[in-house]
């Protein structure tokens, strides 16, 4: 797998824009259509929000974002952190059936990324959490 782009930055909210922009630029250069680019932006924002909020409890740490084409030639984004082990895909899906008074606030981020990407996988490898999003 030959990376198309790679960026690593401290996992902080002020770096969210740069991290997302790197992926969007890469997707655009590789002819991903605008609708899928918005879906990619959504998916990585939701992952990065989680990493920024939860991965590093005491010491600050970095997040790595890499784009590549997988074996099936699908545009794929890999988001890696060295924070506490956390499989975002294992959390319960929100109940989306209730009306406004019944709906709980929050819990939609990971649900949305699962819905908008064709495949999402999690791997804990050595000290890293790795989420792979396939468009």
């Amino acid at each position: 797998m030959q990376p198309l782009s790679h960026i690593e930055m401290p996992a902080k909210i002020e770096n969210m824009g740069n991290l997302i922009e790197t992926v969007i630029d890469c997707a655009r250069k590789n002819n991903i259509d605008e609708k899928n680019i918005l879906r990619i932006e959504l998916a990585i924002e939701e992952v990065l929000t989680n990493v920024i909020k939860y991965a590093y409890e005491s010491e600050p740490g970095d997040v790595h974002v890499t784009c590549f084409f997988d074996k099936g030639n699908h545009f794929t984004i890999e988001i890696e952190d060295q924070g506490i082990p956390f499989d975002a895909l294992s959390i319960d899906e929100p109940d989306i059936s209730g009306d406004i008074s019944e709906r709980k606030i929050g819990g939609l981020g990971i649900f949305l990324l699962k819905q908008t990407m064709s495949d999402v996988t999690y791997e804990r490898k050595k000290e890293s959490n790795i989420l792979r999003l396939t468009v």
Partner: protein
């Protein structure tokens, strides 16, 4: 966050001109709260110029809707399109919110 706010027929009409993401959502929430602070109960949120919303934005809209429902108010959404509409549909919000094509139709509910 660039919002254009006016009052019409007893409702606060807010046009959102920017993407609503994890970075802009706190300001979006503050500005919406300020617009509704004077005891306003009805909010028309025009999203026609919004091409992007994430769960951070949905959170603000749901929290606002809950507050307005609690005072027998309501929220009307206008002009959802593209991926924004898709996000509302996927999250189940499209089914529980009152959604209109135009501000005129939304204001007609009052």
């Amino acid at each position: 966050m660039d919002l254009v706010t006016r009052k019409e027929r007893g409702a606060v009409v807010v046009s959102v001109k920017e993407r609503i993401n994890a970075v802009t959502a706190p300001d979006f929430e503050n500005q919406i709260s300020e617009s509704m602070d004077a005891g306003e109960k009805f909010l028309v949120l025009n999203m026609a110029d919004v091409e992007y919303i994430s769960s951070a934005g949905l959170r603000v809209i749901l929290a606002t809707a809950k507050k307005l429902k609690a005072v027998q108010g309501d929220i009307f959404l206008v002009g959802l399109q593209g991926v924004v509409k898709e996000v509302f549909e996927l999250s189940g919000f499209y089914q529980i919110f009152k959604v209109f094509d135009t501000e005129e139709e939304a204001l007609g509910q009052l």
